[in-house]
């Protein structure tokens, strides 16, 4: 393309504006990445390094935080430790340097698994129910549809935690307190309104001629929904799933209030990791770093679907 063309093009941004846009994006990325980088760096510092002031930028990295995250330890005399057989793992070694031995696994892994089960379970349920409800609202004459949709949306007009006390009492009566099922139902209830509204928008965009064609081609409505509507709604479903998952994964207040033992999720657990003589910051940071991984992987996996939705506009209208 010649210089004259590009100077006058309305579709192709000029190199200068591209550079400026790039610089803004990089700056924004840096600002948002700094806390994450700080958390990661803290996770590989030793406990003394993590609380030193001024903060250490140069330090010798250690896996102590990760070891402390996954284990519980007991203090022993130097003589006792010297008498032990040679350490079998890095964590053994790191722990013994602090005059401690590993007593057993910590609660982090089960809490993390709780988070996975509850977040993915509630996301699946919210998206599943949301898709069906959105399809119903989009395609059928539902009596009082507008009022129902408004009612569904109204559940999001206050912070969910505003109803924490009634839910707490209700859950106690129903025996749902501190159960994975209770947390899945709760997060599903919060997310389903978002899912219905988001997905209704996406499904409204899919022309109903496709389903009608499929029904004439010999399919029932449910089969047409499955074969024709769902594949075209994948973009919307992916976007909705990401939003639902991020909420359920990060939710702290309900989890802190309604779970304490077997169903506790990672967010209320991580800040409670106590080391000797105070908060074990490297272990907290290690927990946070690991906690970020699933949502990162999920978003990156679905990012392709999201991008495809944006660039896939080749459907003839």
């Amino acid at each position: 393309m010649s210089a004259i063309n590009s100077a006058h093009s309305v579709v192709e941004p000029s190199p200068t504006s591209k550079h400026i846009a790039g610089a803004i994006v990089i700056l924004y990325a840096l600002i948002t990445m700094v806390p994450l980088a700080w958390i990661f760096l803290t996770s590989i510092k030793s406990p003394p390094d993590s609380i030193s002031y001024p903060p250490k930028v140069l330090f010798s990295p250690t896996l102590e935080g990760y070891c402390n995250l996954f284990t519980t330890r007991t203090r022993q005399t130097p003589d006792y430790i010297a008498a032990l057989p040679a350490p079998t793992s890095t964590c053994d070694e790191v722990t013994r340097k602090r005059n401690m031995v590993i007593a057993g696994p910590s609660n982090f892994l089960p809490r993390f698994v709780n988070s996975l089960v509850i977040a993915f379970g509630s996301t699946f349920l919210a998206v599943f129910l949301g898709t069906l409800a959105a399809y119903g609202f989009s395609r059928f004459k539902v009596p009082l549809a507008d009022d129902l949709l408004f009612f569904i949306l109204s559940t999001r007009m206050m912070p969910p935690i505003a109803v924490a006390i009634p839910i707490f009492l209700m859950y106690r009566e129903l025996g749902l307190s501190d159960t994975a099922l209770g947390m899945i139902l709760l997060y599903t209830a919060v997310n389903v309104s978002l899912a219905v509204w988001l997905l209704k928008g996406f499904i409204d965009e899919i022309p109903r001629e496709y389903e009608e064609a499929a029904m004439i081609d010999g399919y029932t409505r449910l089969q047409a929904f499955w074969k024709v509507v769902l594949p075209q709604a994948t973009t919307g479903i992916a976007a909705t799933a990401i939003f639902c998952l991020i909420f359920a994964w990060n939710e702290y207040a309900f989890a802190a209030l309604l779970t304490s033992g077997s169903a506790q999720t990672a967010p209320p657990f991580i800040p409670t990791i106590i080391g000797e003589g105070g908060q074990d910051w490297p272990a907290v940071a290690a927990g946070t770093t690991i906690f970020l991984v699933p949502i990162l992987v999920f978003t990156i996996l679905l990012r392709k679907q999201l991008l495809r939705g944006i660039t896939f506009g080749a459907v003839r209208k």
Binding site: E212, M215, I216, D217, G218, Y219, A314, R316
Partner: protein, 336 residues
Amino acid sequence: MAEVSLQNISKSFGESQAVRNLTLTIRDGEFVVLLGPTGAGKTTTLRLIAGLEKPDTGRVTIGGQDMAGSAPAGRDVAFVFQQYSLYPHLTVYENLAFPLRSPARRLGADEIDRRVREVARMVRIDHKLENRSTRLSGGEMQRVAIGRALVRKPSIYLMDEPLSSLDAKLRGELRLELKRIQRELGSTLLYVTHDQIEAMTMADRIGILNDGELIQLGTPREIYSNPVNLHVAARLGQPHINLIPAGLVPGGRAPSGTKTVGARTEHLEIHAGNGSANAEIDWIEHLGDQSHLHLRIAGHKLVTLANPYVPVRPGDKITLTLKDPLYFGSDGQRLV
């Protein structure tokens, strides 16, 4: 293939009456075109036959069987939509195979493959079978859409302005192809359009719809030569029929009660003005193989076709007479 019959069908959506007391029989192997303006009830009629809408009153029978209560999948009809005709997430091959893979049919993979390839050749899309359906030109998309209907052997093909979104050249080509395929297969076909050329060239019989009512049903020649009223007369013919007050142009024998005279090109005779001139040439549109003459007679404007080599120029005085025109009464009905 089967005979399809509509008996006293009515359908309204809220306040608006889409179809009024429609009775129509499409014979086995017949190509019927429904012609009418937007909102005449053409598409609703197709959707009623397909089972996408339920009639308020009346019966639809296909092959003698009452279709009340049958789901679209159970009616054995094929439908070509005006737009959104292909499943965008599937390839051309998968689009063509889609009806054959339905639970209602469940054909074997070999049989599906054979039929898909046969139809793809018929609609000349066999070189693009593996393409995504969104990566096709408009003409190719519509050919695949028609192919998806043809791949089945339904009782009736229903087509809703399948060519309307194509350019003129492509429309002409596909029109011929569609007629050829219909003749080859001996299919029963109900085709909806507002394009009079499509109706005239393809139909065995044309039904003229207006405001939900079937006004006239007949062969293209009958509809053109013997329209029952002003509306039907105005639907067909290029240029548009000239509607002039009775007595304006000499010639012909108007029956009593004539209010309007309908004069097409073949109903008008033009002679060079020789003292008895009653009209003037306003201007001439040259279309190449023929010309549109715009005439003015006593303040009324008329359009007629002429040989481009006729030596006339704008401003020339001419003598205009009628030859067996169409006569209409004050209610718009034809007088014979």
